[in-house]
């Protein structure tokens, strides 16, 4: 179901002028699990993160938390994320739409150096939102466009900052 939710976000991003998007399935990445952190880095994923100005994390909520594999993959990079925009899309079969997984992910993303946006997208009742082919049949209460407006603004602003504003330059 998270894959369907991610496809909705990708389709909205495809409508944005000047935005290049890539959908990455963490389950398909060749990242080893007998180690953790940057020593388990996958060069292709790292390159994608280095090139990106922003990241949208689509996270299913299980027992109020995020999947361990998602955390494991995120932990494999660090400088690639710093001062880049991130937004979180929560997915759950209940009424809260992944609100708890979003709250749990925010401190992790902050520690990784991301700058979080204040809009979220919540796919609640996800089992009834899509038909059997994965087509969204209920788009109520999905603030995808507001979320992307904020994310893209943040991505553009942070890119300018990363490339032009020296840290401590005003000290």
């Amino acid at each position: 179901m998270s894959e369907h939710a991610a496809s909705v976000v990708v389709s909205h991003l495809a409508d944005r002028v000047g935005v290049e998007t890539r959908l990455i399935d963490v389950a398909a990445l060749p990242i080893r699990t007998d180690d953790a952190g940057e020593s388990a880095k996958d060069p292709e994923f790292s390159d994608a993160m280095n090139r990106a100005d922003a990241l949208v994390v689509v996270a299913p909520e299980y027992n109020r938390g995020y999947p361990g594999l998602l955390k494991h993959v995120l932990d494999t990079n660090l400088h690639e994320y710093i001062h880049k925009a991130v937004g979180v899309v929560g997915v759950s079969s209940g009424i809260f739409g992944g609100a708890r997984v979003i709250e749990n992910l925010l401190p992790v993303l902050r520690e990784l150096g991301f700058v979080t946006v204040f809009w979220d997208v919540n796919f609640n009742n996800v089992r009834t939102r899509f038909d059997e082919t994965g087509v969204l049949v209920d788009d109520s209460f999905l603030a995808v466009d507001k979320f992307l407006d904020e994310l893209i603004w943040m991505a553009e602003t942070l890119r300018h900052g990363r490339e032009n504003v020296v840290i401590g330059g005003a000290a």
Partner: protein, 63 residues
Amino acid sequence: MTETMRCPRCGAEMNHQANKLVEPLTAQEVEASAVLGGILLAVFACPQCGYVASTRDEPDDDR
């Protein structure tokens, strides 16, 4: 702390955009991390191609 870096991808001078406290990885870094509780990672971004790179604070650097 290193404050200048050339982009390994395109050769342009990169912008020093962040200092991030990270966990020490070696015994030397553990010893050097006593002051701040970690090692500083200096993060740079290239204004030409956007590439991001970093250097770890050398334990012998002045703080």
